[in-house]
């Protein structure tokens, strides 16, 4: 009897404990849920993004497309934007690969640390070691066409000539993006940023693994990018004939590492460590690409000494016994040249 009673009391106590524990727990959960739903939890704990408040940015805020003014100037901005976003169509005669400005200058030239146009606009005219002269913005954009867009293989065979409307429209777009930005000041978010050198240096072999794990899903295992059903380039080629040539800034490993570190994988900037960014940049730039547009009749060694000496670039160096910089074969016909009457086409 006494034992039974003790058992019962003991049972009652533990039951009570369970009720208290569960009740307290439930109350805590309910209160926690309340606190979370009410948005009293800092976002770094909850991982949520506020619904209404605009994300704070430490960077300069360029205007949105909806703010493009009416009238002739607005029309020029829109044409500039169309060239910027769809360069190989709207300035197609001067593009020798399938790239667009917006492939590297993300978000229509707005994204900080992807060489945003609002930051570039306010810093020209500028002295550049690259050509040892004062460069106007037109000179600078001409360089983009010459190297990054590989104009040597385009229909025109070179960049748009000075005074072309293409520069007028592009500059209108850039000028407008820089509305309100201080002139002749280096703004935060300028250029691609910088990645500190690492103790290990860089290695294309290590970079190959980083590439497979992080880049191949979009740019393809062969680095040639991917297209949609219509053959429209969605992910640009990173090397080979459809990519930037050896004279482009992106062919330098330090430049590419900075771009990658701060922008790639798309939507996950900073995911790669400094070491991984250096390695994968070295891997990408250890492949052959169209020849340096400035080479002319000079030898690779002469071109290296004149334009690449001291740069972090594989141009003119031997890699695994292969001389880099010889370029990809010139296309039989310029890229985008009108087709011959029904016959072989670029798609066949």
């Amino acid at each position: 009897m006494a034992n039974d009673h003790k058992d019962a009391v003991e049972k009652g106590r533990s039951a009570k404990r369970v009720i208290f524990a569960a009740g307290g727990g439930l109350a805590l959960v309910a209160l926690g849920a309340l606190v979370l739903e009410a948005g009293w939890v800092p976002t770094w704990i909850s991982g949520r993004v506020a619904d209404t408040a605009d994300a704070e940015s430490i960077y300069f805020q360029p205007p949105t497309d909806a703010e493009i003014p009416e009238g002739k100037f607005g029309d020029a901005i829109k044409r500039g934007r169309d060239i910027f976003m769809n360069t190989s169509t709207n300035a197609g005669d001067y593009v020798g690969n399938g790239l667009s400005c917006s492939n590297c200058h993300l978000d229509g030239g707005r994204q900080p640390l992807s060489a945003p146009m609002w930051a570039a606009w306010t810093r020209y005219p500028m002295y550049r070691k690259k050509n040892d002269q004062i460069n106007t913005m037109e000179d600078r954009v001409m360089g983009c066409f010459t190297f990054s867009m590989n104009a040597q293989h385009s229909v025109a065979g070179g960049p748009p000539p000075h005074g072309s409307d293409i520069y007028r429209d592009l500059e209108s777009y850039m000028y407008w993006l820089a509305t309100g930005a201080p002139v002749n000041e280096k703004l935060d978010g300028t250029g691609f940023g910088k990645v500190e050198k690492t103790e290990l240096g860089y290695s294309p072999e290590r970079g190959a693994e980083v590439f497979t794990a992080n880049c191949a899903v979009c740019h393809g295992a062969d680095g040639q990018g991917q297209k949609d059903a219509n053959g429209r380039i969605v992910f640009p080629a990173l090397w080979g004939p459809g990519s930037y040539n050896w004279g482009a800034g992106m062919a330098r490993i330090d430049t590419a590492a900075a771009f990658i570190k701060n922008n790639m994988p798309l939507s996950q900037p900073g995911k790669l460590s400094d070491q991984e960014a250096w390695d994968v940049a070295a891997f990408i730039n250890s492949h052959e690409r169209p020849r340096d547009a400035r080479q002319g009749d000079a030898s690779i060694e002469e071109t290296r000494l004149r334009f690449h000496d001291g740069d972090q670039i594989y141009y003119g160096k031997e890699l695994n016994g292969v001389l880099m910089g010889v370029g990809t074969p010139d296309p039989e016909r310029p890229i985008g040249a009108p087709e011959l009457p029904i016959g072989p086409t670029p798609l066949e």
């Binding site: 229509g108 059903a229 429209r232 992910f235 939507s267 996950q268 798609l347 066949e348």
Partner: protein, 416 residues
């Protein structure tokens, strides 16, 4: 000594027959009061919060409507909304990929030709202004009404072709009737029957109608063992409904990958895990091939009350300050998809898109390469997810539409 067993009658003193168990009055235990209080506060707060988010959504929608009134009207607005992701706002197209409308032989031929093309889409090589394109254009028959097609066609012919002929909505109704049950235009060669004096057009592509393996056909239409048929949820044409995705026209690589993920547990859905666990690799590939080859008009329509303007903004341009890239920067500039890892988004069922975005954000779907979608979905607000899902539902299905598909859809209960 062993414990007295419960039913050992000899050890238990029975209470008298008249005994009634009773309990004295006790206070309500404190924890119960806590819970009640907490739930009460929580409930009130939620009620309040819902109220405010409805108000916010409502005002956002109204603001969107107001903004829409400022935008260009009629044919130009419809053109910008429906055609410009491919043909570009200036009608220049995309070099070597999307034919230009500006100065195009087909735009010059007038609004009726443009409307006929819009109604059936194009699926074959076409030569425009001296360039050959691998034409894949969706049919807009399901996406736009007669009067909308008349307006767009009139705008395109006038603006880009310099042909100011009029096209009445009633005439489009007639063209729609004539297009019913017909396949997409098989490229420029078939369109040459429609437009006089076209420059020579590339030959039609040889049809590659592959017979479907009877075993795969059984899986799709009849089920196998205790596994139900694909069509019982995804619809007779793989068009999907509500939370069940459209499969028609998704890339084979993507479909096979998802089936394997369901089978191997990398993607979880109770029903699909059950279906996929019995599938062999050849069966998975056969199913993927079948659905990838289906050409079915869109049955999706906005249904989540999302803000379409905001959805379009996210799909086309993203919201970079929040870490949201444009959907189309990876899924293709018109949501056509990029094989094998980026599925087509155009015409996908909005409830499905919203549910998947929510699943990624909440960590319940984990098979996105590099965790790309996990991060992007988490960066989107709940309203953004509904907005983008609803916007994608307004787009026409890619690739173009097959003849049986239209006819079947019109005659079936699955169609809308």
């Amino acid at each position: 000594m062993s414990k007295p067993r419960k039913h050992d009658s000899s050890k238990i003193t029975r209470p008298p027959e008249s005994y009634e168990p009773w309990e004295s009055h006790n206070r309500i235990p404190l924890p119960v009061i806590w819970i009640a209080l907490a739930l009460g506060i929580w409930g009130t707060a939620m009620l309040f919060e819902d109220q405010t988010s409805y108000t916010v959504a409502q005002s956002a929608r109204e603001a969107g409507e107001v903004m829409a009134h400022d935008a260009p009207e009629g044919g130009e607005a419809l053109f910008l909304a429906n055609c410009s992701t491919c043909h570009q706002p200036n009608g220049a197209g995309v070099r070597l990929a999307v034919p230009p409308l500006e100065g195009s032989e087909f735009a010059k031929a007038g609004p009726e030709v443009v409307a006929r093309i819009m109604l059936r889409g194009i699926d074959g090589p076409i030569r425009v202004k001296g360039f050959t394109y691998d034409g894949h254009m969706p049919s807009f028959a399901a996406a736009l009404s007669d009067s909308e097609i008349a307006e767009v066609a009139g705008f395109v012919a006038a603006r880009f072709g310099g042909n100011a002929a009029e096209l009445a909505p009633g005439a489009v109704a007639g063209l729609r009737g004539a297009a019913a049950g017909k396949d997409s235009w098989q490229g420029g060669a078939e369109l040459a029957t429609l437009v006089a004096d076209l420059p020579p057009q590339p030959a039609m592509r040889a049809g590659s109608e592959a017979d479907i393996d009877p075993a795969i056909s059984d899986l799709i239409f009849a089920g196998k063992g205790d596994v139900w048929a694909c069509t019982s949820c995804h619809g007779g044409l793989g068009q999907g409904v509500e939370n069940t995705p459209r499969l028609a026209g998704l890339s084979g690589g993507y479909l096979a990958g998802q089936l394997r993920d369901f089978r191997d547990g990398a993607r979880y859905n109770e029903h699909m895990a059950f279906v996929a666990k019995g599938l062999s690799d050849p069966e998975i590939d056969g199913l993927a091939r079948y659905y990838a080859g289906l050409r079915v008009a869109s049955t999706a329509a906005p249904s989540l009350g999302g803000d379409l303007a905001r959805g379009e903004e996210i799909a086309l341009h993203g919201d970079w300050p929040r870490g949201i890239p444009a959907c189309f920067s990876c899924h293709g500039p018109s949501g056509f998809g990029v094989a094998p890892d980026f599925p087509a988004l155009a015409a996908q069922q909005p409830a499905y898109i919203a549910s998947q975005l929510a699943a990624w954000a909440g960590g319940h779907r984990n098979n996105s390469p590099l965790g790309l979608m996990d991060q992007i979905s988490a960066a989107m607000s709940e309203g953004d997810r509904r907005a983008v899902a609803d916007y994608l539902a307004t787009l026409p299905a890619v690739p173009a539409v097959g003849p049986d598909a239209i006819a079947q859809l019109e005659g079936s209960d699955d169609g809308q």
